[in-house]
């Protein structure tokens, strides 16, 4: 297995810097790549991508997200009200 695919420590999310990340999958041909995902902002990246996609310090500022702002994102479509329960 190459250095890029060793799963010794799951990295911090490049986009929102959360530590709620996990390995989502590894290449069927062993050792070629690992896919990671974040359970906070749901960003996904492959170990073999450029640093702009994998390194929190190199990730483009325009695409970064703050975990505390995620609930403020626009909701689409809106969730309809539930009908009032009959008493």
């Amino acid at each position: 297995m190459s250095a890029t695919t060793q799963v010794t420590a799951v990295p911090v999310c490049p986009r929102c810097r959360s530590t709620t990340t996990e390995v989502r999958g590894v290449s069927p041909v062993a050792g070629v790549w690992t896919v990671y995902g974040c359970d906070t902002c749901f960003y996904t990246w492959r170990s073999t991508e450029p640093e702009e996609n994998t390194n929190p310090d190199k990730y483009p500022a325009v695409f970064r997200l703050e975990p505390q702002n995620l609930p403020k994102l626009e909701i689409a479509p809106t969730i309809p009200p539930l009908p009032a329960k009959k008493t």
Partner: protein
């Protein structure tokens, strides 16, 4: 007109027509898939589909892109001569569209039932997923047929929906789905969520090509894509019904079965979208996948969505033009054609005869009230019958000499718009514009139009002769 049994049969036809390019060199999922597919969109009207079969990290993955990515391939989807022009394809598409409805043919089994996975589903292992654009929030399934029914009218086949919606693979068995309010599935989801119920869905990938075109067509809510596919291919459309009652195309490579989770939203995006800009990140619904079925050695299909013109623009070109034409023409028979080729119809051109002064503006207003016009049409250019709406040189001429902005531009503020349009302010709301590029006629007495230039006698005869000679020359 012809019917393709499945995705593989169409790929074989493309190959026979020299419209399928096999890429056997080693490729990396990033950046090669995006770079090669974007490059293919710049190859012109005969751009081929690309089939990659030497993908880093896989023994035998097969990925296909650009299947609909040229007018030649689009014509082959319709069973037409690959040299057919846009206008001919438009007229033929409209002719078949007006034969609706065709028939649904239910059979009991399909090749995609060969392999079934219902435990420990991991989409990252099952599908060769990849990132299209660098700022995308993840790996997207972006060429699916998503099938759903209306919980308030469950057994009505005519309101079953087959739509093409982007799906972000969020974790091993969860997807995000973009259901903007203008989409039919948003209406069905609203009905399910008002009941507090999940909405069952089936997601078909690697489909024979006509159903994907139909999934991209903004037909009426009460029209079923399978019945439209049947008239487009000239044969009943073959499906297999699953345990939930959802009809799934016979000719697919993969089928994902699951549910849109009721009343749940999660961050989704960004994704490089059809306007040529990233979509931003929103709170969108979530799908939980319960079961995956696929053919042996499945072929995965995806579409490059980038700055137009790309494969996506072919997918949305006539599929958008024809329904708007049909709906407007049924109200105004004077309307002769609609060109909605540009960015999913954010700009569109309507060709019409003019009955009296001001008529063209009414035609433009009617376009705005079609189902697609409600969420997309933003700039509408109305031209006379002597201007071919598919020839932008002619359209620009009409704007140049037949528009006086003082009276020919209508601005309509605060109308509904697809929230992916980056010009919206706020998101989902935009000012729309009608440009009346027709010649004023009574009682509209503006301008000073004398006698218009004609075409030299015999031009049409010479055109046919030169077209034949040129075709021979370039053979």
């Amino acid at each position: 007109m012809r019917a393709y049994q499945d995705f593989r049969e169409f790929l074989a036809v493309l190959e026979q027509q020299k419209q399928l390019l096999r890429i056997t060199d080693p490729v990396k999922l990033e950046p090669d898939m995006a770079a090669a597919s974007a490059a293919a969109t710049r190859l012109g009207n005969r751009s081929p589909a690309l089939l990659f079969n030497n993908v880093a990290g896989y023994q035998n993955a097969q990925i296909v892109t650009n299947v609909h990515g040229s007018w030649a391939n689009h014509a082959l989807v319709l069973g037409m001569d690959p040299d057919s022009g846009i206008r001919d394809q438009f007229l033929e598409f409209v002719r078949r569209y007006r034969m609706y409805p065709g028939q649904l043919e239910r059979v009991t089994s399909a090749p995609w039932q060969e392999v079934m996975i219902d435990k420990d589903i991991n989409l990252f292992e099952i599908l060769p997923l990849f990132r299209w654009n660098q700022g995308d929030g993840g790996f997207f399934i972006d060429k699916p047929c998503v099938i759903s029914r209306d919980p308030d009218d469950w057994n009505n086949d005519d309101v079953e929906n087959v739509g093409c919606y982007r799906l972000q693979v969020k974790d091993k068995n969860h997807l995000g789905i973009q259901t903007v309010p203008q989409h039919d599935i948003a209406l069905q989801l609203a009905h399910a969520e008002a009941r507090g119920e999940d909405l069952p869905v089936a997601i078909a990938l690697g489909n024979e090509p006509i159903i994907l075109l139909m999934a991209a067509t903004p037909m009426l809510y009460t029209q079923l894509e399978y019945k439209m596919a049947a008239v487009m291919q000239g044969q009943p459309y073959r499906v297999v019904q699953n345990a939930k009652g959802l009809d799934i195309p016979y000719g697919s490579e993969y089928v994902l079965e699951g549910r849109i989770l009721s009343r749940k939203r999660q961050p989704e995006g960004p994704f490089g979208e059809f306007p040529g800009y990233y979509s931003g990140c929103h709170q969108y619904p979530v799908i939980e996948i319960d079961r995956v079925l696929h053919r042996k050695d499945p072929i995965y299909e995806s579409v490059y969505v980038g700055r137009p013109w790309t494969e996506l623009d072919y997918l949305q070109a006539l599929t958008t033009s024809a329904p708007i034409f049909d709906q407007v023409n049924s109200t105004f028979p004077e309307v002769l054609a609609v060109n909605a080729l540009y960015t999913h119809g954010l700009v569109l051109i309507v060709q019409t005869k003019v009955r009296y002064g001001g008529f063209a503006k009414a035609v433009g207003l009617r376009v705005l009230s079609t189902p697609h016009g409600l969420g997309y049409a933003k700039v509408i250019i109305v031209v006379n019958e002597d201007v071919d709406p598919f020839d932008l040189n002619q359209v620009m001429w009409a704007i140049s000499v037949r528009v006086n902005p003082a009276g020919d531009i209508l601005m309509l503020p605060n109308l509904a718009e697809n929230l992916l349009d980056p010009a919206c302010q706020p998101s989902g709301i935009v000012t729309k514009m009608i440009i009346d590029a027709t010649t004023p006629i009574p009682p509209d007495r503006r301008g000073d139009y004398g006698e218009i230039l004609g075409t030299p006698v015999g031009t049409d005869t010479w055109l046919q002769k030169l077209e034949a000679l040129t075709k021979e020359l370039q053979r």
